[in-house]
Symmetry: C2
Subunit: 109 residues, 2 copies
Amino acid sequence: MVDDLREMLKGTLEGCVLEIIGNEETYGYAITRRLNELGFADVIEGTVYTILLRLEKNGLVQVTKRPSEMGPPRKFYALNDAGREELGRFWAKWEYLSSRIDKLREGGR
Amino acid sequence: MVDDLREMLKGTLEGCVLEIIGNEETYGYAITRRLNELGFADVIEGTVYTILLRLEKNGLVQVTKRPSEMGPPRKFYALNDAGREELGRFWAKWEYLSSRIDKLREGGR
DNA sequence: TCTCGGTACTGCGTGATACCGAGTACTACT
DNA sequence: AGTAGTACTCGGTATCACGCAGTACCGAGA
């Protein structure tokens, strides 16, 4: 259908991951599946893991390792205060951007 | 207000420039001013020119050089057929992405 | 037992993009 | 002459999504 959202996802995919983590404590593999079923069909695991490592490096999440019945142990991610702030900034930016784009499209003066 | 849209603009700014050119034949400096007044306040000339050179390289625009009364000659850009197609694809991608994001935000199942 | 597929994470490298900065050059006004 | 506004070019940088190879754990079927 719509091919190659790659470039357009830059800067937004991380926010999507933050939002998913904000809804419930979860782990990389599940986040990828969630994104896929939400319509971000081409997002692959490697991408999500790089985002998660970045979030951890930037101190936006709290990480807990727990064993799994289905395979290797899972790293569960939850937002901390800094993460919730960043999520708020993300939605503010998204609202700002999308309103400008829509205005532009309407012939926008 | 909203700082650093930089990453979020990736993949969308080029589409915005295409839309502006599609509305009327215009040139780089004017496109920058137009973007600024539309709310893309931090977009600078260098960025727009790199986009315009890319559009030209990719064969999406027709370029006409014309003298100016106010300074150096201007390079006017107009969309060709390929450019109009690309613009259509851009809006399709934008619609797709923004609908998914909004769905995600609504808690979206 | 051995392989295979599904689950789960890591780490290095690539390509595309917006942005930065310095440079060039033309016009008009003081 | 000097400055400000207009107008474009080009080399370099940082960041990001993504590709890919590798590691590792588990359960089911041949």
